[in-house]
Subunit: 296 residues, 2 copies
């Protein structure tokens, strides 16, 4: 039977046909994003001359990744992180004025509703074998003025390298806390010293890392989301400058030099270094000021 209309017959015709089909998209930004996505996705398939078997492997990989996602584990974020996509988005989104604290990846382990805590309170009671760690500093604006009442939403892995969601007790929120800066912008967090750890490798992202012969390690860090009225919030980490993994690289490419800070060792009883937190035995301290820029 003869043709009833002109139909795409080559792979380039298909790309043109799909982009043409997007012309009626009402929202201009959606149209821009979808058009670019189709263009780049098709270019990838043509570039590598993807076979049907490889395409189907890709479908299965994405399906497995979706099935791995729960309220406590976000495998697509982990995939985005390990492919460096999250850091590209981060670098595009956060062109900070000099002096403002730089951001880094959000990661897959943030959980809503963690506990409000007083300054000096221990957020690591579930991790009694870790090295106690006092993280203290101020929240400031870009002019150096203290910001009172800023919220510091803090989370980290325990001293064995596991987040609460990875433990048998995953229903409980652990190693997390919501602290607030005082009238001088000061905060004092008591936790345990973070350690380098592998991201979870029991899912599709682990298979990808294995297939590409990549390590799964992240250097020791503590996660922060710092926010205050009238300022742009920042999602970031502080990294332990003494961690050997820093030189070996971060599987999610999240390290920025400005986020590395020294963790200083103290003997038991060094009350001055405790800054009001109650610490038993030897401990470490890290000083870090968060600088927020005004909201647009």
């Amino acid at each position: 039977m003869s043709s009833v209309t002109t139909r795409p017959t080559t792979e380039d015709d298909i790309t043109a046909a799909v982009i043409d089909r997007l012309q009626g998209t009402p929202d201009p930004r959606t149209k821009e994003i979808m058009t670019s996505l189709v263009k780049h996705l098709h270019a990838f398939v043509k570039d590598v001359q993807l076979t049907e078997a490889e395409w189907f492997e890709g479908i299965k990989f994405l399906t497995d990744t979706g099935h791995m996602c729960t309220g406590m584990r976000q495998e697509f974020i982990l995939l985005s992180d390990t492919l460096g996509v999250s850091m590209v988005v981060d670098l595009i989104s956060h062109r900070k004025p000099a002096g403002a604290t730089e951001s880094t990846v959000f990661g897959p382990f943030y959980r809503e509703g963690s506990q409000p805590r007083a300054n000096g309170e221990n957020m690591a009671t579930a991790d009694p074998n870790g090295t106690p760690c006092v993280i203290a500093g101020r929240v400031l604006d870009t002019a150096g003025k203290p910001i009172a009442g800023a919220l510091l939403d803090v989370w980290q892995a325990n001293s064995e390298g596991f987040y609460d969601a990875q433990l048998p007790t995953h229903d409980q929120l652990q190693m997390r806390g919501q602290y607030h800066s005082d009238n001088d912008g000061r905060f004092v967090i008591l936790t345990t010293r973070p350690v380098a750890y592998p991201i979870p490798t029991d899912g599709p992202v682990g298979r990808m890392l294995k297939a590409t012969n990549r390590h799964a390690m992240r250097p020791a860090h503590v996660h922060f989301k710092v926010s205050a009225d009238g300022y742009e919030p920042v999602t970031t980490h502080i990294f332990d400058g003494g961690d050997a993994q820093l030189k070996k690289g971060d599987t999610v490419f999240g390290v920025k030099d400005s986020l590395i800070t020294e963790f200083t060792e103290h003997p038991a009883g060094d009350t001055a270094a405790m800054k009001g937190a109650k610490v038993n035995g030897p401990f470490v301290t890290a000083d870090f000021d968060f600088v927020l820029k005004p909201a647009k």
Copy 2:
């Protein structure tokens, strides 16, 4: 604290760092695919200057798509189909010698283990209100020689436009059959006339089509997977040349001119046109020969 090693500080540095991290991939093809994927994925993000909020919408979209996938519904295939990716893969993979039957999209509704059926047997007993339809023809090689014992795995939507997986009785395999060509390469399928139908729009793909103001329709077609020992199998459709939707377009870009065939109407009792199938009332017939090329 000062830098301990050179770290990426721009979005282009990140792309280079990720590609560098893939250098140890043992399998060259995996390395090629992953490198190209990272390059194109990053290029997309930079091209549209994707914001964090948009990135997170994307993460949620992919997660929802994964959660929609079951043994009976493959939302990622549907996404690949509606973005034209499946047809690009198809056109790259199947550069057929002239005369061989062209392939088209596999679609999300194939199911394993459908019933073996004798020539002339009705695969549409679950669709008593549809117009009976006899699809007959031969399986041939590219030299025109009949292929005996070829397997024709056939599936389609019912006359209301639903596949078995979309019905309350989704546990049952319906509107499917495995036919074999006889010694002359001939096959006779009894089914109901296919109709144009919308792909399922109750998932993320439906949201994408709505956001881009696209129709969800596919022109009337019957799915075939035709295979025989010593030949390359072909996954394809035959389209009803009389369907008005052909002119309005296919939401998955799957139509090829060579796959359009005439469906001819016959009055009740036209036994010659039935080709051995037992048909009550008026019916239609479609003649289509499948031509397979030798396996490599």
